[in-house]
């Protein structure tokens, strides 16, 4: 659906929600609808990123299809979310990958391919397939700087695209509200984000895969989320070991980087598998297929990254280590691409939407009309 039609259709459905308000108790989207009378692009984009796709409202809605009002908020919010990712990304040529799964796959493929090509060009085959022991073993295969520089470059680049996106989010959705930053609002926002609070749906969890509320989605997402954080802690600790303590990898199985990395890896693998199963078996009506495509690409890359990381650990004393490590690094590179051009942007925009929501709700109500 092109942008203007999308905003118009979302606005039509949101106007029905605003006249009904039965779903007020489910999530922050509905109180945010109620302080508005019209729904322009900025409102639709904001609400769509505030929506956590729990689907409680869809199953509670007496106007869901085949009713002629055809209210399907999870579907239209998913579609609007995707459109907002594209609108806020940069540059526009790469932002197209949000709407076109082929572009996402090509980008990921390029990242993996380039990494492997780089490794094959720079590393002597004898080293690649040799068995390595002792400190610095990984770097014998792929030199440290070859690992660090592209990662650093991609991180900085991804960070820059996120900055642009964040500024655009704020510009598009700010409205005419004053924005005092107060501690309470920031604490609420941080709490919601850390707890993945709104994956609780109306209280009993998200309605996945079908019409029954369960905590499965929140559990799996938490595993991926905290697994990701754990893996990040592992990487940071490894950097400290190496650059401050001057201890080169690989580290022992009981060392902090390996423990955090392993816990994170296993959590990600289980979480990703769970989320994939939920998505595959979920009700297609409240879903939006291009969004699903983006989800699948991200989940599969993330899952394979974690899997290849675990394999690198298992096989680090064998001759397969070189090629597994190369593949793992390729997948990490593909993951970095999804930071600015894949599903991972939801972490940025949903966080900003929650912040914006708490700021908005802390203001005196502009429209207190109720029924």
């Amino acid at each position: 659906m092109p942008g203007d039609d999308l905003v118009e259709e979302a606005s039509r459905q949101l106007t029905i929600c605003n006249a009904c308000r039965y779903c007020e108790g489910y999530c922050p989207v509905f109180p945010a609808i109620e302080v508005r009378r019209e729904f322009g692009k900025g409102d639709v984009f904001f609400l769509s990123n505030l929506c956590h796709d729990c689907r409680a409202c869809y199953y509670a809605c007496m106007y869901s299809p085949p009713h002629e009002f055809a209210v399907n908020l999870p579907q239209i919010m998913s579609e609007a979310r995707l459109e907002s990712y594209k609108a806020w990304s940069w540059p526009s040529s790469l932002a197209g990958s949000f709407r076109d799964i082929r572009k996402s796959i090509i980008l990921a493929g390029l990242a993996i391919g380039l990494t492997i090509a780089l490794a094959l060009t720079l590393v002597e085959p004898a080293k690649l397939f040799a068995v390595h022991h002792g400190p610095g073993g990984f770097y014998t295969v792929v030199p440290f700087l070859v690992m660090l520089l592209p990662a650093l470059g991609l991180t900085l680049y991804g960070g820059a695209v996120w900055m642009v996106g964040g500024v655009r989010f704020w510009k598009d959705t700010e409205g005419d509200l004053p924005y005092p930053m107060d501690f309470r609002v920031l604490a609420q926002t941080a709490g919601d984000i850390l707890k993945l609070k709104w994956l609780r749906g109306g209280g009993r969890g998200c309605y996945y895969p079908k019409a029954h509320a369960a905590q499965a989605r929140r559990l799996y997402h938490s595993l991926v989320y905290y697994g990701f954080l754990s893996a990040t802690v592992s990487t940071s600790l490894a950097a400290i070991y190496q650059d401050i303590l001057h201890k080169l990898p690989p580290y022992s199985l009981t060392s902090a980087p390996v423990l955090f990395g392993s816990i994170g890896g296993v959590a990600i693998i289980v979480g990703v598998a769970g989320l994939l199963v939920l998505k595959v078996t979920s009700d297609p009506v409240p879903a939006n297929s291009p969004s699903l495509g983006l989800d699948y690409v991200f989940l599969i890359i993330l899952g394979l990254t974690a899997l290849s990381g675990m394999f690198t650990l298992f096989f680090r004393e064998s001759s397969a280590m070189g090629i597994i490590l190369t593949l793992h690094l390729g997948l990490v590179a593909a993951l970095f691409i999804t930071v600015p051009y894949g599903k991972l942007v939801h972490a940025l925009y949903r966080s900003l939407a929650i912040l914006r929501h708490h700021l908005e709700q802390s203001q005196p109500r502009r429209n207190a009309k109720g029924h």
Partner: protein, 479 residues
């Protein structure tokens, strides 16, 4: 139809099918039916619920509800007390006295236990919706509204193993000598007979049956919109009456509000209502006002406007507001017709321009000098020397742009039903109850409600009498 010969015909099949007999058959699929099935299941595993609608439309008018009125001692589900006595006073206040005071008292007394029982069935609650604070003390709000409630009840049925059939078109009840024997289902061209030891009829009123409404309203009924399910066509009500059940309630009476004239014929629910009426004037198809738009606060008056419009020519009216008040009421679903002059607005609405201009000018002269209004209370800002008057919130309509909404009567439910005794058994014309025919919900709410309505009371009646009927039917079947 020749009911007697039909009974003869079916009684043969009934014998042949005796193996498939249920202890309790519940006809209907809304709140009262669901409560009846769950209550019956406490006493017998042999319960069948027959829902006329397909699964996605299940739940009757309960789909469109959002709260239930319950007396409360001021603990547990409500922090404030709402006594049985006050509840009864409220009921008498709006209805002028229930048809059967004992049944009304029973419903109100039993309502105290409902929140706890509903929670046990898996119903979730939420605070009163924003802007409905006048109901905070008297009504409990279920999370997500009526369809979520219906879903939770069907889940509860499935947990305790109650058989449910959707799209079950019950065409007849086999009753012999005042005793129910079986239900007759239509499956396309064929009939299916399901025998039962007792039946609970909880199949709603007849508000979705336009032809039936025409008996009392003539062709005007063609212009009525039905706010709820299209499946409430009164088949079961007509069947019971044909089997000599005693009728109760004014057949012409219905609860109706003003809805947007562009709303769907059926099932528009809550969102098609318009709250603009007290903020401007309402004119009929001739461009003339016909009733005091500011008579009382809106929550007390919104429910008279359906009938008022039903009595206007063409069953249509137009709510006119201006730029000053357009943002004063809940945002409507349909965009208003909008023009920079009253003359242009008349053209958009298809009204005679000269008359509408005259109506608005007269209104504005009668409100000259009124500049401030307080929507939250009776502010006494009224017209002077105008008939009909506008008693409150009478501000001139003089700030362009001007807005118009077409209004139609939107029927919520009908009052006529069948009479029941204190065990929810349906009473025959002879005055004796059927031995094993029970009724619950809208089909018997006329025993309590004669006119007017108390928000959330329909579900109270349905829940209390549903549970009673289910329990009594099951214990009868076990005898």
């Amino acid at each position: 139809m020749g009911a007697h010969s039909m009974s003869q015909r079916f009684s043969l099949k009934f014998v042949a099918n005796a193996a498939a007999q249920f202890d309790v058959i519940v006809v209907g699929g809304g709140n009262a039916a669901l409560c009846a099935a769950l209550a019956a299941r406490k006493l017998t595993p042999s319960v069948l619920l027959l829902e006329r609608a397909p699964e996605h439309m299940r739940g009757g008018n309960t789909r469109h509800t959002r709260n239930i009125r319950c007396a409360s001692a001021g603990n547990g589900y409500s922090a404030q007390e709402y006594s049985v006595e006050e509840f009864l006073e409220d009921l008498i206040g709006v209805t002028g006295g229930p048809a059967n005071l004992d049944l009304a008292k029973f419903a109100i007394q039993q309502s105290r236990d409902l929140p706890h029982w509903m929670s046990e069935q898996g119903i979730l609650w939420q605070p009163a919706l924003a802007g409905t604070l006048h109901l905070e003390r008297t009504n409990r709000w279920f999370l997500g509204g009526g369809k979520a409630l219906v879903n939770a009840y069907y889940d509860a049925l499935s947990r305790v193993g109650i058989a449910v059939r959707y799209g079950a078109d019950v065409a007849d009840l086999l009753i012999e000598d005042g005793e129910f024997r079986a239900v007759v289902l239509l499956n396309g061209d064929t009939e299916e007979v399901i025998p039962g030891r007792a039946v609970v009829v909880a199949a709603g009123g007849f508000e979705a049956n336009i032809e039936w409404l025409k008996r009392y309203w003539g062709d005007a009924a063609d212009n009525f919109l039905v706010r709820g399910t299209p499946f409430n066509d009164g088949t079961m009500l007509a069947t019971l009456i044909a089997k000599d059940a005693r009728q109760i309630g004014d057949p012409k009476a219905f609860h109706a509000i003003a809805v947007d004239g562009r709303a769907p014929k059926f099932d528009g629910g809550i969102v098609t209502r318009l709250d603009s009426i007290p903020f401007g004037v309402v004119v009929n198809r001739f461009g003339r006002r016909f009733y005091d738009e500011g008579e009382d606060i809106w929550p007390k008056r919104y429910a008279i406007w359906g009938r008022l419009i039903a009595e206007q020519p063409g069953q249509i009216a137009y709510s006119i507001v201006d730029g000053r008040t357009i943002r004063s009421f809940l945002p409507p679903v349909y965009k208003p017709y909008q023009a920079t002059s009253i003359k242009d607005l008349a053209a958009l609405l298809g009204l005679d321009a000269a008359t509408l201009v005259d109506t608005i000018q007269s209104f504005n002269r009668a409100t000259a000098g009124n500049s401030e209004s307080i929507p939250a209370r009776l502010d006494g800002v009224k017209t002077h020397g105008l008939s009909p008057p506008k008693s409150n919130w009478a501000l001139p309509i003089d700030r362009a742009p001007f807005y118009g909404f077409p209004l139609r009567p939107g029927i919520t439910f009908t009052y006529m039903g069948v009479e029941v005794d204190s065990n929810a058994r349906v009473i025959q014309r002879t005055g004796r109850p059927f031995s094993n025919v029970y009724a619950a919900g809208e089909i018997m709410s006329g025993n309590i409600l004669t006119k007017g309505y108390l928000a959330g009371f329909g579900l109270t009646i349905g829940s209390v009498f549903g549970r009673l009927a289910g329990k009594e039917a099951a214990s009868h079947a076990g005898r």
